[in-house]
């Protein structure tokens, strides 16, 4: 099955490519070539082999017995945290670096929030011998220092973004500006299902491996390839899109997307773009975003640097709009609680982003027979400073 855009890059009324003319040739080059390259047998062979032998896929689907007992359902964890580099981000960076190579690009740029995408990009650049520049908000540079140091060790140049709140959105703006200034030899390796068409569709295709594996892994473990629920966090929405992708056409599967509520969706300090957003244009696509009545983008807030984004991928805006996904939210506090709970019940320290997905468990009324898959998009090593600071309260 293919969940994809119309010929103009739209999911319903969401999507498109709202880019300055300066970027038109770059986007056109991608648009004209991405499907042909991705579907070629050479590409598929190399992509699949790298996912297996370099990333370590398939990532396990772990039955969480103590968590299942607590929430009275059969809960499985999709272990993207066990991928090389520690998150789902590497699925997309492997795909795009091969695409960039096929297009003859010499230099890679990327934006990053928590640093997971930055690390995954720096990693594939080291692997392929490509020059790498990562734009990262100065605020995030400070709160995600281990990832900054990993990127540097991998040979990437990390440029702190000094505009706006100095977080993920601002890093994205700087990456677009970098691309405008370096249009011919550079590929912008965008990390989520956001931005101008074809990025949302392209990144969704690379992340779709997550739900592809969940299907056969569930078949092996339960005798059925469809769960009752799939739960994932959404910032831009790439791990959720990957976890949902092959289930979208199966209406029996409830797709739950969990936004970062920050201090609460009514607190004014939030990153819940669907709950608090209206339709508009952000970073090249028409989607739901948090904005003032005057159309200025509102600076988001979340404890999680990876979810701290005022927009959402256009496919998620669409799926919510047509009622295919249910969007919940989790506050900083609920997510910290969920992170410590998973750690103590299952011995897995999740990324603070993934903890937002886990925080949805107490909010859903499950039946005892329900099969629930929670996507653990990344591991918590990078969040140790945050967890240590809150340990007394939650342990």
């Amino acid at each position: 099955m293919k969940f994809t855009t119309d010929e103009h890059g739209y999911y319903g009324k969401f999507g498109g490519a709202y880019i300055p003319e300066l970027l038109y040739p770059n986007i056109k080059e991608l648009e004209d070539n991405y499907i042909r390259i991705i579907e070629s047998s050479d590409f598929q062979k190399e992509f699949i082999s790298l996912l297996k032998d370099y990333v370590g896929r398939p990532s396990p689907l772990t039955y969480a017995s103590r968590l299942s007992e607590k929430y009275n359902a059969h809960i499985y964890l999709k272990r993207e945290d066990l991928n090389h580099t520690g998150s789902h981000k590497v699925n997309n960076t492997i795909g795009q670096i091969l695409l960039a190579k096929a297009l003859g690009k010499k230099r890679i740029i990327a934006e990053t929030g928590a640093g997971q995408h930055g690390v995954a990009t720096a990693t594939v650049c080291a692997l392929m011998g490509m020059q790498c520049t990562v734009h990262m908000g100065e605020t995030d540079v400070k709160r995600q220092m281990p990832n900054v140091l990993r990127m540097k060790m991998l040979g990437a140049t990390v440029i702190p973004a000094m505009s706006g709140n100095r977080t993920l959105k601002d890093a994205g703006n700087e990456a677009f500006r970098d691309w405008i200034n370096n249009p011919t030899d550079t590929h912008y390796l965008l990390g989520s299902v956001v931005g101008p068409h074809p990025y949302p569709d392209m990144v969704a295709r690379f992340q779709a491996i997550i739900s592809e594996e969940i299907q056969w892994q569930l078949q092996e473990k339960t005798g059925k390839n469809l769960p009752d629920y799939v739960i994932a966090c959404i910032g831009g929405g790439s791990n959720a899109m990957g976890a949902f992708y092959h289930f979208i056409e199966h209406e029996s599967v409830q797709l739950i997307a969990v936004e970062a509520a920050g201090l609460g969706i009514h607190s004014g300090e939030t990153a819940a773009s669907i709950a608090k957003g209206t339709i508009g244009v952000i970073q090249g696509s028409k989607t739901m975003l948090m904005q003032t009545n005057d159309g200025q983008i509102i600076e988001p807030y979340s404890i999680s640097a990876g979810l701290d984004y005022p927009g959402i991928g256009p496919a998620h805006a669409y799926l919510h709009d047509i009622g295919r996904t249910k969007v919940l939210d989790a506050t900083d506090h609920e997510s910290l609680q969920a992170a410590f709970e998973l750690t103590r019940l299952e011995g897995i320290i999740p990324a603070i982003e993934s903890a937002h997905a886990l925080a949805a468990l107490p909010k859903i009324q499950f039946n005892a027979t329900d099969v629930v898959v929670v996507n653990i998009s990344g591991r918590g090593d990078k969040d140790m400073d945050t967890y240590i600071a809150h340990m007394d309260k939650y342990c």
Binding site: Y18, P20, L22, Y24, N181, G280, G284, N293, D294, G295
Partner: protein, 257 residues
């Protein structure tokens, strides 16, 4: 003939169009800046609608947008400031900004307000040609608002010809592959690009923007095109100590010589 076409029919060379961000340096400077730019011999003005996330702009214009928004500038405030602008100003006026504030204001209401005030054209860099022609062109035309489109050194000839068909104003030639900002001199590659576009004999006149900041760069582009658009250099000048009039007078001389 619209006001922009009238300008180009009277004057084919050395056109100076100036960009500034509305609400910068002070919220209520907008009308004074426009009047002073006209008084000191500027041919056309691009009034910037500040936006929180100006993707195509370099540091100087980003900074002016941040200040303007903090000062309280918005599209509604700007329109109320400009309500009587045609009583004192006769040169063409263009609004330049990003698409999102316009979408939130309402595209039709935006065009209608532009027409009633006497705004001649609009530049929305992140509204691509396809979206414009599909969704909005009929509204712009209904209210007689010219949509001015950009080309860059990477734009293919066939696309330039398509863009040339979409407007009756001018083509905004971006001088190089870059965000906005100043340069001291254009190189041979850029000169070659100016010559190449100039020899295409397009129906619309050409103005070059991005990187023009002094008499030398202004003279260089005027040799091959109808004139230039200067933005960042004007913003820098407006921040200098001294009155608005002193700063604007010094700025205009620094470009025209």
């Amino acid at each position: 003939m619209n006001r922009i076409q009238q300008l180009f029919s009277k004057k084919q060379k050395q056109i100076l169009s100036v960009y500034f961000t509305a609400g910068f340096p002070q919220l209520h400077d907008t009308v004074s800046i426009i009047e002073l730019l006209e008084k000191h011999g500027v041919d056309m003005i691009e009034i910037g609608i500040p936006f929180s996330d100006p993707l195509a702009d370099g540091n100087v214009i980003q900074h002016s947008s941040t200040v303007a928004l903090a000062n309280g500038m918005s599209l509604s405030v700007l329109f109320s400031q400009l309500e009587h602008i045609r009583k004192t100003v006769s040169i063409p006026l263009i609004l330049m900004g990003y698409i999102n504030p316009v979408l939130q204001f309402g595209v039709e209401k935006f065009c209608e307000t532009c027409q009633s005030i006497g705004i001649d054209g609009v530049i929305l860099p992140d509204l691509p040609l396809h979206e414009y022609t599909k969704e909005y062109k009929h509204i712009f035309e209904q209210y007689g608002i010219q949509n001015i489109l950009l080309i860059s050194p990477q734009t293919e000839e066939s696309r330039i010809r398509m863009i040339d068909q979409q407007t009756q104003a001018f083509i905004y030639m971006v001088s190089s592959s870059s965000t906005t900002g100043t340069k001291s001199k254009f190189n041979d590659e850029q000169i070659h690009y100016f010559k190449r576009i100039s020899s295409m004999n397009l129906q619309n006149p050409l103005l070059v923007g991005f990187g023009i900041s002094n008499t030398e760069t202004f003279a260089q582009v005027c040799e091959y095109t109808h004139g230039a658009i200067v933005g960042s250099a004007c913003i820098k000048a407006l921040e200098q100590p001294g009155t608005l009039e002193q700063n604007i007078s010094t700025f205009v001389s620094s470009i025209k010589g």
